[in-house]
């Protein structure tokens, strides 16, 4: 059985604010906070496809149907695994709390065992379903977990960007630093470099496509390239629906076992 833990708001870093330009100079922390605090829809439904490509060019595909809803103090998310066949009908549920210091609650349903198991959300450095994304990469890392500085401003893919270097306050964190290209005014992280504990470039996250859905800019295609392992993961979001009114009862043990 694959590891199927996630402690995060899946692809939440893709939701971005429509914020007006700043008349005055902005600090690095403010830029990161604008990305972190962007307005998002109350709920989202989408199909996620991950294509894992190894150094030989061989591909493996994972497909997930996912639902999420913000209940104010808690965001609930439920994911149903569609492919590959050996994890089909597996489901995963995550409750993420606003309360400072409160860990996520996570459960996984394994259809072969017919059992919902509670799992720990502590291992955020684990890789998600064998991809190049760790659970933490997919999450909403809090701005105050790092110290930030603006390295420069430059164009990337024709967009004006701030280039922000973020250094974790926790010395044991899995990355020594990250460098992010954030589009001015749109507050999208367009590219992000991850450096390992020795300070060497480990991975690069690239945004290939984003689009406006119901007034929210949503990145629908990203690519994480592990430079050191020569392995990459392409992540695509399809059939995205925002504010469709997902019922509260969707995020329950009943639905985990019933499936989609």
């Amino acid at each position: 059985m694959k590891t199927l833990k996630i402690s995060v708001l899946f692809l939440s870093f893709l939701f971005l604010a429509n914020v007006t330009t700043f008349a005055q100079e902005i600090t690095a922390l403010q830029v990161i906070e604008k990305v972190y605090n962007r307005p998002v829809g109350d709920d989202m439904t989408s199909n996620l496809k991950m294509t894992l490509i190894n150094s030989g060019g061989n591909e493996r595909v994972r497909e997930i149907k996912q639902f999420s809803r913000d209940f104010g103090k808690v965001e609930k998310r439920i994911m149903f695994f569609v492919k590959p066949a050996d994890v089909k009908n597996t489901s995963f549920m995550n409750w993420s709390y606003d309360e400072e210091g409160k860990d996520d609650d996570q459960w996984i349903y394994l259809p072969a065992l017919k059992k919902v198991k509670r799992i720990s959300s502590d291992s955020k450095g684990d890789y998600f379903m064998g991809s190049d994304f760790t659970y933490d990469d997919l999450g909403d890392r809090k701005p105050n977990d790092d110290t930030h500085k603006i390295l420069r401003e430059e164009k990337l893919n024709g967009e004006d960007c701030y280039v922000i270097e973020s250094t974790p306050k926790d010395e044991d964190y899995m990355y020594s630093k990250t460098v992010t290209w954030i589009i001015k005014d749109k507050w999208i992280g367009l590219k992000k470099d991850f450096y390992d504990e020795d300070g060497d470039l480990l991975k690069t996250l690239t945004v290939n496509k984003y689009k406006d859905i119901k007034g929210f800019l949503i990145i629908t295609n990203t690519e994480m390239n592990n430079i050191q392992k020569n392995h990459k993961t392409v992540m695509e979001l399809r059939n995205v629906k925002i504010n469709s009114g997902i019922p509260k009862s969707k995020f329950t043990e009943r639905m985990m076992t019933r499936g989609i």
Binding site: P84, D122, S123, T252, R254
Partner: protein, 412 residues
């Protein structure tokens, strides 16, 4: 002409049905070789076809799960593991038919997980979904918030399926005199009076998940009633009459997280369970005692290796020395543990696993190292060993059955 139209209609119906019904499952090749004898016998050369046929509607669903085993002797064994229909309502669901029901928080041991009986045709070696057998009945689930009340009614009793007498896995039995068996009282006729009933209340909360359960059931394992009689030719004749007796039990389980640790517990109290006595002539060789079975366990990750450990104890209340030890009970309390370590690498395409049961009473163990490799998204390869340690008890009795095996599994 009418035949042609009928065939066309059937073909159309089948095509429409096949397009909307979900088919999944696997084909598996499984080969196992004994290490404990001189010839290194291939005791398992098996092909398996497992098919899940499922269809979901808005307010209902059905599932049929046939499974076919093909052995080297060219024999075919067919099992219908599940065949049920679901009806969904606003606050409750109803499932009717043959179904597997799984309760509790323990892994690899059966404490409150007693609704579906076990198929021990290959001891505890198959995957747990193959060990667990479907039961015929109805399951009702009522939901309120994150709480569930479940009621199970089984009009048909399904006992534990034991290995055949010539199987490697037939359990060892010790008798003073070679017995004869009288199977006349073993069957339970399906009827309202003979039904089994189980109830469970469970909740899934931020702090803790828990279950409370109770059952009025038949003991899945038959009690061996004995009688001694003089033989016409001299000496004594021991006759064993297996009979399933009623059991009442109550229990519960919980699971919670503390930082990186998951803590789990599960326990059940049996109000009267039959145990065999040393003297088969007294009270038909049977005594009834209350009995408790519980587990405490934890799961955690260290150095990227996932660990799981469980301590399990069974205790016979108001114990008496006349109770006859067997493979499961040596004396008043019997302690066991399980341990699992699993390491995933190469983007989760390669898994190294070690699982073991250890029986403290008989100093016996079953060790199960295993390598799992995802050759592709559809094809999984497994190589492993089953090593039995000790000379008696649940695991030691099989110390001649050490085995290495390989599996090729195609998932679809």
């Amino acid at each position: 002409m009418k035949k042609i139209i009928l065939i066309m209609m059937l073909a159309f119906t089948y095509t429409a049905f096949a397009q909307s019904v979900d088919f999944s499952g696997y084909v598996r090749n499984y080969s196992g070789m004994l290490l404990g004898n001189e010839n290194n016998d291939f005791v398992i050369l098996q092909n398996t076809f497992n098919l899940n046929i499922e269809k979901k509607f808005d307010n209902s669903a059905f599932k049929v799960n046939p499974m076919i085993y093909h052995d080297y002797s060219d024999s075919l064994t067919f099992r219908l593991r599940e065949a049920y229909m679901d009806l969904y309502f606003d606050n409750f669901d109803l499932r009717v038919g043959k179904q597997q029901i799984v309760w509790g928080k323990a892994d690899g041991v059966f404490i409150t997980d007693i609704v579906s009986p076990k198929n021990l045709f290959q001891f505890l070696l198959p995957d747990f979904d193959e060990i667990r057998m479907g039961v015929t009945g109805a399951k009702f689930d009522y939901y309120f918030g994150d709480n569930t009340f479940e009621l199970v009614w089984l009009p048909v009793f399904t006992p534990t399926n034991l290995p055949s007498k010539n199987s490697l896995w037939f359990p060892k039995m010790d008798f003073m005199i070679p017995p004869t068996f009288d199977y006349s009282k073993q069957n339970i006729t399906p009827s309202l009076k003979n039904s089994e009933v189980f109830a469970k209340y469970s909740a899934l909360t931020s702090l803790v998940d828990f279950e409370l359960m109770a059952g009025y059931m038949w003991d899945d394992d038959a009690t061996m009633f004995s009688s001694l009689s003089p033989k016409p030719t001299g000496g004594m004749q021991l006759t064993l009459t297996p009979e399933h007796k009623r059991l009442s039990l109550a229990g519960g389980s919980f699971s919670t997280t503390v930082g990186p640790f998951v803590f789990r517990g599960e326990g059940a109290y049996y109000f009267g369970k039959n145990f065999n006595t040393k003297n088969p002539a007294v009270n038909n060789g049977v005594i009834e005692k209350d009995y408790i079975h519980y587990m405490l366990g934890t799961d955690f990750t260290l150095f990227d290796i996932k660990f799981s450990a469980q301590f399990i104890q069974k205790a016979i209340m108001d114990y008496e020395d006349i109770i006859k030890p067997n493979n499961l009970f040596k004396d008043e309390s019997n302690n066991m543990m399980t341990f699992l370590a699993r390491y995933s690498t190469l983007n989760e395409t390669l898994d190294l696993e070690f699982f073991t049961y250890y029986d403290f009473e008989y100093d016996g163990a079953l060790m199960r190292p295993r390598i799992l490799y995802n050759y592709s998204d559809a094809i999984n390869l497994q190589f492993g060993a089953n090593i039995f340690l000790g000379t008696e008890g649940l695991f030691g009795q099989y110390n001649k059955n050490d085995m290495v095996y390989g599996k090729i599994i195609y998932n679809f």
